[in-house]
């Protein structure tokens, strides 16, 4: 075993139960500033999704009296937009819709992608109906991924009409092949490991082996990709809303706020689009950081 690479003496350290896993996680987190930052951002974004629309100083969907396009001040921390709506209140209210879309669509994509990934990975190379199923799933995924993501999302929403449900459906649909591939890749590796054959010797049926024995061991990669996918979905939602194909105005949503502010950027009212985009970027960064951290934490190679 030590033949190909100099390696450490294999010392199986005692690691019992959940408590140690939790302690491992804490000590891992303590050593990584980026991961901590990511967790903080994610927590904050989730908090705002729940409370954001209620804690802002001004209403989020109605114009205030007075001059529009006020620059940032003590009264309006991020200024006001062309309809004289308070940008700060709207920016912190936006996670409600953006995160709902991202979380729901990612959850659907995860469930669908993992299930299909297990089937296509485990039964690929077999025979009969399961093999056909597996092949069919893969071909379908190939074809869906032949379309550039944003264009396909745009088209889905374009044909079905704008609206939150349609954005969720589009994102879920687009992300299924992604989780499918990740899961399938992991399943293809796990299925070659001898414990699968051992389960056959133990009299398990193929479906039971696939979902009871193989799937739990193939979940790490798709789990680690949940967080970045949420970030990516937020990005896509804002992009769709930016061109008017996503969340309709005046619902506070980062992409549509940037769209509202876009013309003002060329005439010098920089705060209109800058702040929503900056917050959007920070939130996505947070989800990416959490994803990277989890990937590293869950990767057995990095353990010790």
């Amino acid at each position: 075993m030590s033949s190909d690479n100099p390696s450490l003496p294999a010392t199986p350290l005692p690691r019992v139960g959940q408590q140690t896993a939790w302690r491992d996680f804490l000590s891992f987190t303590r050593q990584r500033g980026g991961f901590q930052l990511g967790l903080a951002i994610v927590a904050l974004s989730l908090g705002l999704a729940v409370f954001g629309p209620h804690i802002g100083p001004y209403p989020t969907e109605t114009a205030l009296p007075g001059m529009p396009l006020q620059p940032p001040s003590w009264r309006h921390w991020m200024g006001t937009d062309v309809s004289n709506m308070d940008i700060f209140s709207r920016v912190i209210a936006a996670p409600r819709i953006d995160l709902t879309i991202a979380l729901v669509s990612t959850a659907i994509a995860f469930a669908g992608g993992v299930a299909l990934g297990v089937i296509s990975g485990f039964f690929g190379g077999g025979r009969g109906v399961p093999k056909l199923l597996s092949e069919g799933i893969m071909r379908a995924a190939d074809i869906i991924q032949a379309f550039p993501v944003f264009i396909f999302a745009l088209a889905l929403v374009g044909f079905r009409g704008p609206g939150t449900e349609n954005v969720i459906a589009a994102l879920a649909f687009l992300n299924i092949p992604y989780f499918l591939r990740i899961t399938r890749g992991a399943v293809l590796q796990v299925r070659e490991r001898p414990f699968v054959e051992a389960q056959r010797c133990a009299g398990n049926s193929e479906w039971r082996i696939a979902f009871v024995h193989v799937m739990p061991n193939a979940l790490t990669p798709p789990l680690a990709n949940i967080s970045p996918t949420i970030g990516f979905s937020i990005l896509l939602t804002s992009g769709l809303s930016f061109v008017g194909a996503g969340v309709p105005v005046p619902t506070p949503e980062w992409g549509s706020m940037i769209a509202i502010g876009a013309p003002n950027m060329m005439t010098g009212q920089w705060w209109t689009a800058l702040f929503p985009g900056l917050v959007l970027g920070i939130v996505i960064l947070g989800y990416a950081l959490v994803g990277d951290g989890l990937k590293e934490f869950l990767d057995p190679v990095n353990k010790r």
């Binding site: 030590s2 100099p6 450490l8």
Partner: protein, 326 residues
């Protein structure tokens, strides 16, 4: 004969998050010119790290903390990168286990050998090609002219090992480090490879340092054997004397384990063969059937126990006497 390689108190550690862990502990060893030395050890004994540290190939998290590696009078650890590079693949060469993984998969084997030749001497392309064909023929690859264009995936494991040997012996190699020569090869093929390696080494006057977990290989292809346990040499003896009766209890366990028949266990104390090395005292103590209280106090020194034999055990002489009596 004067040694060409002298390791003195070589210490290598592995950096982990929980602090450094010793992989080699003050390891001292000589290899004489033209001799065949076998290094035996199990996983984690540090034998592969030993090979890599001689060639200066250890990257972080491995770190050489201490000691000297003197080759032909020069301390390799003080050598600049350029001179060391000339030495690698020149005077000191390496053969690896799982040869196919160690060849560049996207370049033809002819080109790879030519690259090695030209890294060490100024050689025109045509001359390098001619020399490559000679080398391939010398290592018994049939139809070498045609094989120049072959890629590693088109060759069997045995053929890839021959290519590696051809590269290793392309120059005036003084010392050939052979890492696990039989890993990943079938029985009949590995025997062919060992014969070839042995033959070439003898005809070139090359010293062999053969690292293996297989005691059979060492018994048949080496003159001297050094046993490693937990980063240390625990026994160093001529092959005949060693296999007739080892002086260290670990060597005795290894030998008994490798035998084709079970043998009698005798009245020996039952011990846990899987126990971890001890952190204080003699590291082998938890697995040792003949340990005494004194073994817990300090790591025993590697002492002369008979002519040309050293062992790191307080009870070595007692063991040897018993063995000789039996």
């Amino acid at each position: 004969m004067a040694p060409i390689l002298e390791l003195r108190e070589l210490s290598v550690s592995y950096e982990t998050q929980g602090g450094a862990r010793a992989v080699l502990s003050k390891l001292s060893l000589d290899v004489s010119a033209g001799e065949a030395l076998g290094i035996v050890g199990e996983s984690g004994s540090g034998k592969t790290v030993l090979v890599r540290s001689i060639l200066g190939l250890l990257d972080p998290p491995f770190r050489t903390d201490h000691g000297t590696v003197v080759f032909e009078g020069r301390d390799l650890r003080q050598l600049d990168e350029q001179s060391f590079r000339q030495l690698r693949g020149g005077s000191i060469a390496l053969t690896t286990p799982e040869p196919r993984k160690h060849l560049n998969p996207l370049i033809s084997i002819g080109r790879q050998i030519v690259n090695v030749l030209r890294a060490h001497q100024t050689l025109a392309e045509q001359a390098a090609r001619t020399r490559t064909i000679e080398l391939l023929r010398a290592v018994g690859i049939p139809d070498p002219e045609r094989r120049l264009a072959a890629y590693p995936h088109e060759l069997s494991g045995g053929m890839c090992q021959r290519v590696i040997i051809a590269m290793a012996l392309a120059h005036q190699t003084k010392l050939l480090l052979v890492d696990e020569p039989t890993a990943g090869l079938d029985v009949t093929i590995s025997r062919q490879i060992l014969d070839l390696m042995h033959e070439l080494a003898v005809s070139h006057g090359t010293a062999l340092m053969l690292v293996s977990r297989d005691l059979g290989v060492v018994a048949h292809y080496c003159r001297r054997v050094a046993v490693m346990y937990d980063g240390r040499i625990v026994e160093d003896a001529p092959v005949e004397a060693f296999f007739a009766g080892p002086a260290h209890p670990y060597s005795r366990q290894l030998l008994r384990a490798a035998a084709a028949s079970r043998g009698k266990r005798g009245a020996e104390k039952r011990v846990d063969a899987l126990a971890e090395p001890a952190r204080t005292g003699c590291p082998f103590r938890p697995r040792c059937p003949v340990a005494v209280a004194a073994c817990a106090t300090a790591v025993p020194a590697l002492q002369q126990v008979a002519a040309g034999r050293r062992a790191r055990c307080l009870r070595a002489e007692a063991l040897l006497r018993q063995e000789l009596a039996a």
